[in-house]
């Protein structure tokens, strides 16, 4: 029974954690609300914008996207399915660079799909350019 005062004192000195919990909860809610999980998937068009001499030596494969929604290579319509075979057979020893020349009215979705097909077929780099009129 003599110990009782000390045990009582021990209880008194215990830290009150309720304000701490309140604060932590507020922080937690703030970070939950502020966190926006942006989980994008996509394609990257890596193109070294160099005017190196090798480009002149081996001209890159150039697709044309006119406003009518076709895919042209050297003036021949090849369609979206024809892109990958052309990229594959263009060069035997080196994956080609691909330039996609788009005209006014061509849809970005088609351009993206052509880029995708070219990259799928192993193109080294893909670049979008606007056709100079």
């Amino acid at each position: 029974m003599k110990r009782k005062p000390t045990s009582f004192q021990n209880e008194q000195t215990e830290i009150n954690v309720s304000p701490l919990i309140d604060m932590v909860f507020i922080l937690l809610i703030f970070f939950i609300v502020a966190t926006s999980f942006v989980n994008e998937i996509g394609i990257s068009s890596s193109y070294k914008d160099s005017n190196s001499k090798t480009d002149i030596e081996r001209p890159p494969l150039s697709f044309n996207l006119p406003g009518s929604g076709q895919v042209l290579l050297n003036g021949n319509q090849i369609g979206l399915e024809g892109v990958a075979p052309k990229v594959r057979t263009f060069s035997t020893y080196e994956p080609p660079s691909v330039i996609i020349q788009v005209s006014e009215g061509a849809k970005a979705g088609l351009a993206t799909q052509v880029m995708d097909q070219a990259l799928l077929a192993g193109a080294k780099a893909v670049k979008l350019t606007v056709v100079a009129r």
Binding site: V38, A106, T112
Partner: protein, 134 residues
């Protein structure tokens, strides 16, 4: 004396032990602090084109959106093409953040080409956001 002591003990037993709760809340808090990247969304919903070989892009990136009506959006506002390079350099500062363009599949491809080339002026990595094909 005996009775009183017992009642105090009982009272203490009745109060809920909050230490595990605090532990869990702290773990959640640390998780959300670490995962918070504070990405400013472009503020417009676009119909992304579907492609075959889409890969996961880096999460902490500067986002631009090209809408169906060929408007460029960044951080909830419509911006001009000429404003894009300063906006990117302002957003990336010294860190190496890639640029991600959310393009609508019905947007004009010439606009996309111009936007990509503008972005390439200041950022080495420019990607197009797409959807996985099925």
């Amino acid at each position: 004396m005996k009775l009183r002591r017992r009642s105090i003990l009982e009272e203490e037993d009745e109060s809920i032990n909050v230490s595990p709760l605090i532990d869990v809340v702290f773990i959640l808090l640390i998780f959300f602090i670490v995962s918070a990247t504070f990405v400013t969304l472009p503020g417009v919903e676009v119909a992304r084109p579907r492609v075959k070989n889409a890969s996961s892009l880096q999460k902490n990136s500067v986002l631009f959106a090209l809408s169906e009506k060929n408007q460029i959006f960044h951080a909830g506002k419509s911006v001009q093409l000429s404003d894009v390079p300063p906006l990117i350099s302002q957003a990336i500062k010294d860190r190496d953040k890639p640029v991600v363009i959310q393009v609508d599949q019905w947007a004009d491809a010439t606009m996309l080409a111009k936007l990509v080339s503008e972005a390439k002026k200041v950022s080495p990595s420019v990607s197009l956001a797409t959807l996985k094909n099925r």
